[in-house]
Amino acid sequence: MNDIFQDGTIVRVDGVHKFFRRGSERVDVLNGVTLDVPEGEFLGLMGPSGSGKTTLLNLIAGLDTPSRGEVWVGDHCISQMGEGELAGWRTRHIGFIFQFYHLLPVLSAYENVELPLLLLPLSASQRKQQVTTALELVGLADRIRHRPGQLSGGQQQRVGIARAIVTDPTLIVADEPTGDLDAHAAEEILDLLCELRETLHKTILLVTHDPRAAQRASRLLHLEKGLLVEQIVRP
């Protein structure tokens, strides 16, 4: 990763506000959040429902734009990008892991993982190599032809993780990745995320309600009413 700030920061959120309109009412979700994430960090975001965790994650992942303030990822100020530009940027720089996996049910595990690669100028053999590698990394090399409906929740989430890492993104963002899994499967997914961070040096942003998941983060931030109120750094 060479497009990072000189101090090693890969994500910089600077005075970000976000509000929505619900009819004539203005709902402030984020109220001036400032945050730096160094490269390779496993950052956990916690907070009660409606505190703005997912909104902050969406802003960092380029799914939404702030009402005020700036969001930088590497040397890209994504808060000023247009929709199309953001789409192209997300393909290369963001791996997104969803709570409910959100795999396409009509595609096999292999095809689901291949999906983001279709947007890149890669040959079929290059795509095959990357998909196979990603599925091996998540331990599903023997399930490539299975459709999501033929896989357990844990396996589907592994496919989701493989899809998130297959483009070798700058940042992996995970929104409650263990929220729909039993304790055992959740532990396996968290182990896998930690392994990705350690072996591939990926930067991971994790939004969670799950204290066990939060314990895996190297730094934990608490949001309340759109503000960062507490920070816990683990050695």
Partner: protein
């Protein structure tokens, strides 16, 4: 092409809905194909040619036309009087004859409508008989030779042959009716018009008709046949081009030899247009109401199916956007699904219609004017898919645009 697999999978996702949508499209494209085939035929026969015109000369003020037989000479010369006048390249006389196989039972099946003409002109003057495949051309040539040799010979169209349940070589007797009353003729079937051409017509030797007309007084107390002086129904003239046609028409209409009764000269196509005049409203309705209504129905059916599909897949489409699909790529994916359905169903429909009508049924009966039956033109093989495709494209524009504008953050915010 990379997305084609995804498009196909999405279409196959709900097989029942895709099947029903396709079936509706197939049925409606079938209707549109049939309608357009008829309109195509009508346009073809009523379109003015730029050269090798066939002009039709008939009595000006009376229907059916009854011209004196003595007109045949001057009309065939285009009523040319001076060296600068245009003389037609060829001509043909038509004398209508109507008879029944059974005078006690005047059913449509027993009726035979025939023209008395010069046999050798059948090949050269009757449209659609000079561009036949070699084997049909040879057969027709042989039949015409027999017609020339056998004064009582007759060539029948396929509908007539079927209706009277006779075969080539058999004989039959017709009792004259209407304008031909009192002229009872016996015929030997020497041949048949090629299938699909002049199916509801029959042609026999002019000499036989004239002889019968001459013989009429012998069996009717010396009385001439009521139409003996005026039994020339119409004449066909072949002229080089539209310029010659205009001049010949002027010569005929100004000729002092052709004043009682006066004649009119029009192109074959305008003559057919006149015959189609009673059907004008029906044709207008088919062209401008039925066909557009079918197209609109295809459009609505596909719009409905794609709208449901997009609504059901909002999260999936949002996932595609999260993965980096551009809005236009999502638009293309949704349009691609409806295009696949529309074009596929259109092609199946047009292909089946073409094969079924042309090869299976040998055309569909269409006894209007000189028209016998219509065939589905080869162009339907691209009309069908085009109709299905365009209707699908228009029908899916709105749902595809909705899909394009899906905001991933909003979709997942609602999920959470």
């Amino acid at each position: 092409m990379k997305y084609f697999r995804l498009i196909v999978r999405n279409v196959a996702r709900n097989p029942l809905r895709s099947l029903l949508t396709s079936l509706v499209t197939i049925v409606l494209v079938f209707v549109v194909t049939m309608v357009w085939s008829v309109l195509w035929l009508l346009d073809l026969v009523t379109a003015e040619r730029s050269e090798n015109f066939t002009a039709m000369v008939a009595e000006r003020w009376s229907v059916p036309s009854r011209m004196p037989y003595a007109y045949a000479g001057p009309v065939s010369r285009g009523a040319a009087r001076g060296p600068d006048d245009v003389v037609p390249k060829d001509s043909m006389t038509w004398q209508f004859y109507v008879g029944t196989l059974d005078p006690e039972k005047l059913t449509r099946e027993n009726l035979v409508f025939a023209i008395a003409c010069e046999p050798e002109k059948i090949e050269t003057m009757m449209d659609g008989l000079n561009d036949l495949p070699a084997d049909q051309q040879n057969q027709l040539h042989e039949d015409i030779a027999k017609l020339k040799a056998n004064r009582r010979g007759i060539i029948l169209g396929h509908n007539h042959l079927r209706a009277i349940n006779k075969q080539v070589g058999e004989r039959f007797k017709l009792t004259g009716m209407s304008i031909s009353k009192g002229l009872d003729l016996e015929f030997e079937i020497v041949g048949a018009f090629p299938a699909g051409r002049y199916d509801t017509m029959a042609a026999f030797n002019r000499d036989y008709y004239v002889d019968s007309m001459d013989a009429y007084p012998r069996t009717h107390n010396g009385q001439k046949h009521p139409w003996s002086e005026r039994n020339l129904s119409l004449m066909l003239l072949r002229v080089k081009d539209s310029q010659d046609f205009t001049r010949v028409a002027g010569q005929l209409e100004r000729s002092p030899e052709l004043t009682s009764p006066a004649v009119r000269c029009e192109t074959m196509s305008s003559g057919i247009s006149a015959m189609l005049e009673p059907y004008r409203d029906l044709i207008w309705g088919v062209r401008w109401l039925l066909a557009p209504a079918c197209l609109a129905t295809i459009l609505l059916v596909i719009a409905n199916a794609i709208s449901i599909s997009v609504r059901e897949r909002r999260r999936e489409l949002a996932v595609l956007k999260v993965l980096g699909f551009w809005p236009y790529q999502v638009l293309i994916l949704v349009l691609g699904e409806s295009l696949l359905l529309g074009i596929g169903a259109g092609f199946i429909s047009a292909g089946l219609t073409y094969a079924g009508i042309n090869w299976g049924l040998g055309g569909v009966s269409f006894p209007v004017g000189f028209l016998d039956r219509f065939f589905v033109p080869p162009g339907a093989l691209w009309w069908g898919p085009a109709v299905g495709g365009v209707a699908a494209l228009l029908g899916s524009l709105l749902p595809a645009w909705t899909a394009r504008n899906i905001k991933a953050a909003e979709v997942f915010a609602k999920v959470a």
